[in-house]
C-alpha cells in the first residue's frame, strides 16, 4: 500500500527535471529489489505505447519555442516535447511502481491484509477461489484445444488474419471450457456449504468466544492440581 502512495507525484505539476529524478529513484529501487529484469521487462512491455505518445503528442501541443522546423513549418515545439516527456515519465513511473508492487507482494498475504483492512469476507473468498481456479481452467483450455485440434486438424480454421473468423473458430473450444467450468459451480457451492460458508448459525470456529472469569479460575485450579501431583516427585528428588 505504501508503494502505491508513490504514484500521485507523477500527476503533480512539478518541473520536468524533478519528476525525472523521481523516476530515476524508482528505477533504482526496482534495480535493487528485482535486478535489471525488473526495469527492462516492464519498459519493453510498454515500449509501443511510449513510442505512440512520443509520435502523437507533440504535434497537438503548440505552446513554446519551435523545436523541429522542416521547410519553414513548425512540426514540434518545446511545449509539445515537454508534454510528451512528462507523459512518458508518468506512464513509465506508474508501470514500474505497479510492476514492483506485483512482484514483491505475496498474493496470499495481500488478500489477508485486505481482509484485515475491512474487505468483506465473501469478496476475499471469491478472489482466493478464483486464483485457485485460474491454473485449473488454463490447463482445461489447453486440453480442450488439443482435443478439438485432433478432431478437426491443427488450427485449420484459423488461418488468415480475420479476427471474426478466429473468434468463430475458437467458439467450440470456449463453449466446452465454459460448460466444464459452470459444472463446477454446484460442486464448489456444496464444498463451501460443508465448510460452513453462508450458514445462519456459524461454525464454532467462526464464533468469538468471550472469556469469562470462570475460565481463568479453571486454569488456576488445573495448575494447583498439577502442582499437588508434583509435590511427592519433587520431595523424592530432594
Amino acid at each position: 500500500m505504501l508503494l502505491l502512495a508513490y504514484l500521485p507525484v507523477f500527476f503533480l505539476p512539478l518541473p520536468i527535471l524533478m519528476v525525472t529524478g523521481y523516476l530515476a529513484a524508482i528505477v533504482f529501487i526496482n534495480l535493487l529489489c528485482l535486478g535489471p529484469r525488473g526495469v527492462i521487462r516492464p519498459f519493453l512491455s510498454i515500449l509501443p505505447i511510449l513510442l505512440l505518445v512520443l509520435i502523437l503528442t507533440p504535434p497537438f501541443q503548440r505552446e513554446g519555442e519551435p523545436f523541429i522546423v522542416i521547410g519553414g513549418r513548425i512540426l514540434v515545439t518545446t511545449g509539445g516535447m515537454n508534454e510528451a516527456l512528462r507523459l512518458i515519465i508518468r506512464f513509465s513511473g506508474i508501470t514500474l511502481v505497479f510492476y514492483l508492487f506485483a512482484n514483491i507482494t505475496n498474493a496470499d498475504l495481500f488478500i489477508t491484509s485486505c481482509y484485515r483492512m475491512g474487505m468483506p469476507f465473501n469478496v476475499v473468498l471469491v478472489v482466493t477461489i478464483a486464483m485457485r481456479y485460474i491454473p485449473y481452467l488454463t490447463t482445461l483450455y489447453r486440453e480442450v484445444t488439443d482435443a478439438h485440434s485432433l478432431r478437426k486438424g491443427a488450427d485449420a480454421a484459423v488461418r488468415g488474419f480475420s479476427p471474426f473468423r478466429r473468434v468463430k473458430a475458437l467458439l467450440p473450444v470456449l463453449t466446452s471450457v465454459l460448460i466444464q467450468a459452470i459444472r463446477q459451480i454446484p460442486v464448489l457451492s456444496m464444498a463451501l456449504e460443508c465448510r460452513g460458508v453462508g450458514r445462519r448459525v456459524k461454525r464454532s470456529t467462526y464464533l468469538e468466544l468471550k472469556s469469562r472469569a470462570g475460565v481463568m479460575a479453571d486454569i488456576a485450579f488445573s495448575l494447583v492440581i498439577i502442582l499437588i501431583l508434583l509435590v511427592p516427585i519433587i520431595r523424592d528428588m530432594v
Binding site: R90, A102, L170, L171, I182
Partner: protein
Amino acid sequence: MKNEAGLSPTIKIAAVAILTAVTALFTFVRVPFAPTRGYFNLSDVAIFFSALTIGPFTALLAGGLGTALADIISGYPQWAPISFVVHGLQGLVIGLLARRGGLLNLSMGAVAGTVTMCTGYLLGGWLMVGLVAALAEVPINLLQNLAGIIGGVSLHLAVKKAYPPITGISW
C-alpha cells in the same frame, strides 16, 4: 439451487469465483487481427456471457476482478485498477439492460456496454498517457467489443442449449 429465499449465498460466491477465473482465462486468450502482430483479447466475450447468462451483479464482480487479476498476472498491473472499474461497470450495464430479454434490450445492453468500456478506457488512458494516445486505442477497443458481442451472445446461446441447468443460476 434456489430456495424460497432465492439463490443460496454459496451458489452466488461459487458462480462469481468461477466466472472470475473464466474472465481471467479469456483475457489471456489473444486473437491476432493484423499482420503487424496487433491483437485483442476475449475478456469482453466473457463479460457479455456472464452478464447475459448469470446476471448483472455476477458480471460486475467477475468482469472487474477477472480482468484485473489477468492484468496483474500477465505483467500489465498498471492497467488493473482501470480494468477493474471499467469492465465491472461494463458487465453491470449490459446485465441490467439485457436482463429483460428481447432483441431491443440486448442491443441496448450491447451498445451501452461498448460505450462504457470505450469511454472508461479513454478516460483512464487520458489520465496515464494523454488524450491523443488514448484516442488511438479507441478503434481497437471498439473491435474488441464487437468481437465480445458476437462471441458473448453466441456462447450464451450455445451454453444455454448444451447445459440447460445454467438457467437456474442467475441473480
